[in-house]
């Protein structure tokens, strides 16, 4: 064995120790078995000390994690106790069999309902489309104001846009719909406004971030050929961010289809209204039918968005 160094000797000796420490079943180390070096004992002691330190470190970290885990579990137990154990009306729910029976009522499809679903389904779809469109239109100034690198007057416009984005996303679509029903009355219009308001936050935020991340080179180039602010926007900024923004819009549109299906709850039209009518008349197979219709238009949305995204890239 020509290439054995001093360190290798040290390792050999350690392997001898290990073999003893491990016992017969794991003593399959492939260390060579010739003579030992002079400083082997010292290295071995150092290794053992380092191993001790490492093990202690690991144990300490595990204890820390255990403490955090205990706190989290305690919070879970408390929450479960309050929200589930105490709050639930176990008597009304009855046994598991009763629950299954209640769930079983939803099995089945009310085929007779289908002809009545076409119009509300189309309405739901249209509300989602128009809501997204309106949202995108409102987004343009918000994204412009909210992108740090192009915002026109930073101390005022930037915080304004940020506030708008947060407000839009903080308020659930149901709450927005409630508000607009109160303002513009029952109907599709309230739904469109609600979806538009709810969409602004996400689209504007993503667009603003995309604009902040652009390559400044083209902006410089368009400035250099003598372009004005608007031309810079159209030729240097928009081409860079358009695919991304289009992707975000399509994504939001898909979500809006889901959302528009529940706006009927507060009187904003569409499939939601039919859903609640079925629920209130205890026509549970009808509920399933409406759910299937919702899934159907969502599926259409997914297919369309798949192709739209491909076209955008």
């Amino acid at each position: 064995m020509p290439l054995v160094h001093e360190t290798a000797f040290a390792i050999q000796l350690d392997h001898e120790n290990l073999r003893r420490a491990r016992g017969p079943e794991t003593a399959e180390m492939n260390a060579p078995s010739n003579g030992a070096g002079t400083d082997a004992g010292a290295t071995s002691a150092a290794t053992a000390a380092t191993a001790d330190r490492l093990l202690a470190d690991r144990r300490r970290r595990r204890v820390g994690r255990l403490v955090i885990a205990t706190v989290l579990v305690a919070a879970v137990v408390w929450s479960v106790d309050v929200t589930i154990v105490q709050d639930t009306d176990w008597k009304r729910m009855g046994s598991l069999a009763n629950v299954l029976e209640a769930a079983g009522e939803f099995v089945g499809v009310d085929w007779g309902l289908f002809p009545d679903l076409a119009k509300p389904a189309l309405e739901t779809f249209m509300i989602a489309c128009l809501g997204t469109l309106l949202g995108v239109l409102v987004c343009i100034p918000v994204a412009w104001f909210g992108a740090l690198n192009i915002t026109p007057f930073k101390p005022v416009t930037y915080p304004l846009a940020r506030l708008m984005m947060t407000l839009s996303r903080s308020i659930h679509e149901i709450v927005w719909a409630l508000f607009f029903v109160a303002v513009v009355g029952l109907g599709a219009m309230a739904g469109i406004f609600a979806l538009a308001m709810r969409s602004i936050g996400f689209i504007a935020k993503m667009s603003a971030e995309a604009i902040e991340d652009i390559d400044p080179g083209p902006v410089e180039a368009i400035r250099a050929v003598g372009g004005n602010g608007f031309q810079v926007l159209i030729y240097a900024i928009l081409p860079q961010v358009l695919p991304q923004i289009l992707g975000v819009v399509v994504f939001e549109w898909e979500i809006n289809i889901r959302r528009s299906a529940v706006l009927g709850l507060v009187g904003a039209g569409g499939l939601g209204l039919v859903f609640f009518r079925q629920m209130n008349t205890f026509n549970f197979p009808g509920v399933t039918t409406v759910l299937l219709a919702i899934l159907g238009i969502i599926l259409i949305g997914e297919v369309v968005s798949h192709f739209a995204r491909k076209a955008a890239i």
Binding site: L3, T7, L18, N30, A31, T47, A51, R62
Partner: protein, 250 residues
């Protein structure tokens, strides 16, 4: 008896696709440092991954220590894999874990799920890892994250991880292709000396013919999935190299 016997090995990635390996046979002896050379696309990587079944061969036999490999599945396959260490071209370290945890991950084949989950490796493993890290010269980097190391250091961690497995053979998949020439030589020297210390034969994919001739005792040359040369490194000469790399010259 050879430790690894490969007979008529064939492989393709899709059933309709082209055959990557077209019937390769060779033997690796217990003290071999065995090199597979050939132009890129010759099937070197596929060949080496067929040995531990990271790629499923489509035909032929692989016998490791007398045991047929191609039929193994599940637990038996994992038992085979833990007996074969592997070192990768791109190091394949887990970047966000420490050097220590990366080396310890070589013991996974011996470790239960619960211990794996909490990374609670037995003390003997930790000591073995420290010795290996000392041997590859990284004893001062034990607690660093793997992505904080340089390329050569990363490959040293890869070597330590492979030897941590207590392997009966090492597979080296272009271990130096991502490194500069000087460090390549150091790494190859380290692998060779450690392989000898631990008595582990090596099967090595290598692009660099000069390195192969310097460190390996046997060489096979692949071209387009066919074996073009098989023999001791000393018998390799310019004309044979010319044949093997004909495709590349064109």
């Amino acid at each position: 008896m050879p430790i690894l016997e490969v007979r008529e090995l064939r492989a393709r990635y899709t059933s309709a696709g082209p055959e990557i390996l077209k019937g390769i046979s060779f033997d690796v002896e217990a003290d071999d440092f065995f090199a597979i050379i050939g132009p890129s696309g010759a099937g070197k990587s596929t060949l080496i991954r067929c040995i531990n079944k990271l790629v499923e061969p489509s035909g032929g036999n692989v016998r490791f220590r007398g045991e047929e490999v191609t039929r193994l599945r599940g637990r038996e396959l994992r038992g085979l894999r833990r007996n074969i260490g592997m070192i990768f071209q791109e190091f394949n370290l887990i970047d966000r874990l420490s050097v220590m945890d990366n080396v310890l991950s070589g013991r996974l084949g011996y470790t239960g799920n619960l211990r794996s989950l909490f990374r609670a490796f037995p003390r003997v493993d930790i000591e073995r890892a420290l010795q290996l890290l000392h041997r590859v010269g990284l004893e001062d980097h034990v607690d660093k994250r793997a992505d904080a190391l340089s390329g050569g250091q990363r490959q040293r961690v890869g070597i330590a991880r492979a030897l941590m497995q207590d392997p009966k053979m090492l597979l080296l998949d272009e271990p130096t292709s991502s490194l500069d020439p000087k460090i390549s030589r150091e790494i190859m020297g380290l692998i060779k000396s450690m392989a000898q210390e631990y008595g582990v034969p090596c099967l090595c994919n290598i692009h660099d013919v000069a390195l192969a001739m310097e460190f390996c005792n046997r060489i096979i040359g692949l071209q387009d999935g066919v074996k073009m040369f098989d023999g001791p490194a000393e018998l390799m000469d310019r004309t044979k190299l010319g044949e093997i790399y004909a495709m590349e010259v064109l």
